[in-house]
Symmetry: C2
Subunit: 411 residues, 2 copies
């Protein structure tokens, strides 16, 4: 496989506040055409270190991609230093300068003199047009290496890569295509998942399988190589099918979809409607469901009943039920689900009540105790959960478990 | 200032799914004691590239910190390669091995033979105890450089740094202390903020000022150096005070707090209560408010009235008001705020209705049109917003504007 290095340039990427995320996106794109990323460097506006970094990269890797440092200011040193590292001259390109001037005119401004710098092009480089900003990119072949200079802002970098770089690198990479697939799992622990599917996936070097634990979700990442996209996809189909046999409906998404998207799809297809009553999740379930475009066709209403009074008034939960069992209890969870469904007149009512902490726990009802309930016109069921984690994680896990309860009913 | 490099080790950090976040945390800690991070490298389980990376770092920087690659498997090459890069031997440390065996015994397991590798220590290195995992860290002085090997998992790496590394590096860094402060701004654009405060902050090299644009929030990051923490903090106080004079109550947080924390504090201090009625934000405002521990003392209830029927039934919005002005309108926003306040019996009622897109917009009422309203027992007011961005961003910006409307009323 062809090897690549990515160099992210800019002093702001060496502060505690800014992570380099361009390289993640680029890695996915490079992997897809069969190019492996072997090293990433993050370097500031520092002539000596940047020159050394580029030289090292050229020595080690067939493809070298830089992001950032193509702006018009003194601090934007990528052009100058990349030229120096390859012992090439930097030449003013009149055509680029004219195009820049014109671009500024279209933006209704005169081009500041300082931007002339952006028309300085490394000798032998092709100019990569940037419709979304002023900094042109560059592509050049240097002593058997492909060197690509891209701007830092993702909205400029991504289209430039797609338009000008992807096809060229694909031609170099030859007949290797890589396809990826993300399966998402709910309701099983990491080791349970691994135990069930290890006998299957360990038999394959291609596709490769990685199990990631991400909040309360388990993701199974499959990566396959083939001579064509189709061949790689077929390999993925084969393994994904075997994994599905082992995990059944614990897999809720085969293409990386979110739980709320899957539920939205199932509700919409069946013409069902939903209302939600939340206590400890505080609106998170409603918020997740309504993040999906078009959710207004199936999501009718949500109530966040933090106070007991609200549970009684908005949901019709009998106050003696709360007095007898407490607000965090199975009977109250069920009454909440039934109440919201009946009042909203929806097909389903979903509810959560629990203790997200850090305060409010007792010996009988510790932090992390959560009841979820689901009601339709035939029956109402609940689950009792004991969720680990901090406040944020408990809330998220409770929302996920509640949504999963609904998903399984919809199957 | 002392210079540092951070090397993150592990092939999983070269995939599209995993970013190195340890280095952000470490950078904040290093900056605080006056050490500047000049370069970061992310390298896989690749002997040659790692050796070269470590050697380069030792040549360039006074402090070299590695994270990861200290596990017990073949892939965990940090010990071996770091030793080779410094031409030092790797020696089995019997005391470390005994401690490891004991640790596994406490975990109720026999130590796998493979873990013996973790007792191999670089000659001359001090062993850094790891109470949260099996991999010990190492600290050594090598030819005027401080070399620190830390484990990859943050829950192991962070306490090890705090306990064993911080004080040693502080002693080396000498009398430089760095203090940071984050001011958050709402209701002003980036260029408006810069215009007002540039005349102030450009006068100072210390503190340094950076303006960051983060979703719909503007953050002003101040970093000051002094001979003591107190001196650095005093410098921050001075500049922050001048910035406050220029921006007034557009600054909602002086110590990096979230909007919902600030509001929670103000409500709690005054003994006020709040209820929220949301349409296009779909529960996001309730979710943000209830993310704050202890919010149940002031947040009583929220309703997510996606359907018109819910607006009428749950909030008492007159249906002819909706018919006349539409659900996304100032009169409906005000009726929602009043309705939720009256029914919940709270001091404040806050509401949002709008079009988050991508569908549902018209020429008269485009995507991004949002009305927010706030009601107390004296009066009700609304704001009309035209928010740019995609669905997620419009929802977030609407929630922020609504919370900010409440914050200003609470001042």
């Amino acid at each position: 496989m062809l090897t690549a290095e990515i160099i992210a340039i800019g002093s702001e990427l060496l502060t505690p506040d800014r992570a380099d995320t361009n390289s993640l996106w680029l890695t996915e794109k490079l992997n897809a055409i069969g190019i492996e990323v072997k090293l990433k460097t993050i370097v500031g506006d520092d002539d000596a270190r940047l020159e050394e970094t580029i030289k090292d990269a050229l020595r080690r890797s067939r493809v070298v991609i830089t992001t950032g440092g193509l702006g018009p200011t003194e601090d934007d040193i990528t052009r100058k230093i990349a030229a120096r590292a390859m012992s090439r001259r930097l030449v003013l390109n009149e055509a680029v300068l004219d195009a820049l001037r014109e671009k500024f005119m279209r933006w209704g401004r005169k081009m500041p003199e300082i931007n002339t710098r952006q028309a300085m092009i490394i000798e032998g480089a092709e100019v990569l047009d940037n419709p979304h900003g002023s900094a042109p990119g560059m592509y050049l072949e240097h002593e058997g290496r492909s060197v690509i200079l891209l701007p830092g802002p993702p909205r400029e970098m991504r289209p430039m890569y797609e338009t000008h770089v992807s096809a060229r690198l694909m031609a170099k990479a030859g007949d290797v295509r890589v396809a990826r697939r993300v399966l998402r799992v709910s309701g099983l622990g990491e080791s349970a998942v691994d135990e069930r599917i290890a006998p299957v996936y360990t038999q394959y070097k291609n596709p490769q399988t990685t199990i990631l634990f991400n909040r309360s979700e388990i993701e199974i990442h499959l990566t396959a190589q083939g001579k064509s996209e189709q061949e790689a996809e077929l390999l993925l189909d084969g393994l994904a099918g075997q994994i599905e046999e082992r995990l059944g409906d614990a897999i809720f998404a085969f293409r990386g979809e979110q739980m709320e998207e899957i539920i939205g799809l199932r509700l919409a297809v069946n013409g069902f409607t939903l209302a939600v009553a939340e206590s400890c999740t505080g609106g998170l379930i409603a918020e997740r469901l309504t993040e999906v475009p078009g959710s207004s066709t199936y999501f009718m209403e949500g109530v966040v009943t933090y106070s007991n009074d609200a549970k009684v008034r908005l949901l019709g939960v009998p106050s003696d039920l709360i007095a007898e069992y407490g607000a965090v209890s199975a009977p109250v969870a069920e009454a909440m689900a039934e109440g919201v469904r009946e009042r909203a007149g929806t097909d389903f009512g979903l509810s959560v009540t629990g203790i997200a902490g850090p305060g409010g726990g007792t010996e009988d009802k510790p932090v992390g105790l959560v009841y979820i309930a689901l009601s339709d016109d035939a029956h109402t069921e609940h689950r009792k959960l004991l969720l680990p984690g901090d406040r944020q994680l408990i809330r998220w896990r409770a929302s996920q478990a509640a949504l999963d309860l609904l998903r399984r009913r919809l199957i």
